[in-house]
Amino acid sequence: MANRTIIPFGPQHPVLPEPIHLDLVLEDEKVVDAIPKIGYVHRGLEQLAEKRDFNDYLYVIERTCGICSFMHGMGYVEAMERIFDTEIPDRAKYLRTIWAEMSRVHSHLLWLGLLADAFGFEALFYQTWRLREQILDMFEESTGGRVIFSVNKIGGVLKDMPKEMLQKFVKNFDGMEKELKKLTNVFLNDYTVQSRLKGVGMLSPQDAVYLGAAGPMMRASGIKIDTRTLGYAAYSDIDFDIITSKECDCYARCDVRIQEIFQSFHIIRQAVNKIPDGEISVAVKGNPNGEAFMRVEQPRGEAIYYCRANGTKFLDRVRVRTPTFTNLTPLLHTLKGCELADVPLLILTIDPCISCTER
């Protein structure tokens, strides 16, 4: 048997923007085991529900993660709306859908850039992030914020998008789509990129289900699950495909995310065509009483929100289960048996969001 070495990986590591620590047990260049150590970003924000009232708490939960901040807010307010038993106006539902899909595009582009950076393709990283700035500009124009833009409220949304703005955005998306096609050509057809991604980090469909993978990680293993089909916000009126792939490797995960970006553009276009006029919020009175569950499809997979209220303005319990948390087990599984040089790439392909995981 070859000698075993333990290599510490993280918490501060050049390819990881976020702190996570792994002890990699190596035999020569092969990883035989990976022992994670987490908790570097733990803040304890679920407990903060005892100190902030249910309206203020929205601003805390939006800061669970800055990348899908809008979706965290949306999951929480939809759970609270269930407790209050309110129906929000249709226009608000559509606006939420549009912002949610824009967040997905922004998040996937961010991930593609980081992936390019991880395998050392600096120019590609810069190009994807340049494209991503266009989405951030649109966020800024419609809400005033670039990454954290707090437009949700219990009972609707805070800001409206006029018709001209929506039309303009759709036009921007046309331009973005063209540029993205050029970029995806590199991601999917470049020989060097393929040699880094193909056949690396296999996760069989059985393992994906057994280990509880979520989101694109699961869909890349051929399992067709997408929480958007439950029809929260305006998704029940919109038709879209669930993108899956049969190849189960890093390349498949890249492919699935890229196709999802195009799918998101498709959803936004439909939503802009169908959006009805009218109010954007309803007033919600009194204090909540009861409990509710809400499942939301985030860019990284399914997130679950649980709220329990007791008739006062402070909630008893808020629980968030985020997709990266469930994706950690499949990650540890794929790490076993891989080469040391592939470790950063594998960690990136689950699209890790450590601050979601540890809250």
Partner: protein, 148 residues
């Protein structure tokens, strides 16, 4: 902006941030904002770094990490706290696991407020940090009796 005689390198560490500030720090490096035009380069190695850019507050688990990173950096060095979390704890101030802002464990030279801090603000902070670094370098050299 003070005249800069060297290209300062920057080390970014994510304390316990929500990622909002991190992606803005990364956005600074990419074409639209591009801090590299000030000669600032992002590095992953604390031993090469002059500016330590920290996002997010300090908690019990990452306190030793932050201290270690700082101690590994060569003198003179500057600490720049990005985002209101890093300045004083921000929205998470009352969380049970948050000790407070970065200044609880390290001497912070530049504070960049905002939640999330905008890239323009971050660049302004970095440029200020470059000026502070220059001053520190002069002082450091004087103490050692070298020519500035």
């Amino acid at each position: 902006m003070a005249k800069v005689s060297k290209s300062p390198w920057m080390l970014h560490y994510d304390g316990s941030s929500c990622n909002g500030c991190d992606i803005e720090v990364l956005a600074c490096l990419t074409p639209v904002y591009d801090v590299e035009r000030f000669g600032v380069l992002n590095t992953g190695n604390p031993k090469h770094a002059d500016i330590l850019l920290i996002t997010g507050g300090i908690n019990t688990q990452n306190k030793p990490v932050v201290e270690q990173l700082y101690s590994q950096m060569p003198e003179p060095k500057v600490v720049c706290a990005v985002g209101i979390c890093a300045c004083n704890g921000g929205v998470f101030k009352d969380c049970y696991n948050i000790i407070g802002g970065v200044d609880k464990v390290l001497p912070v030279d530049v504070y960049v407020p905002g939640c999330a801090a905008r890239p323009n603000a971050i660049i302004d902070g970095v440029v200020k940090a470059v000026a502070v670094l220059e001053e520190k370098r002069k002082k450091y050299k004087k103490e050692r009796g070298e020519k500035a």
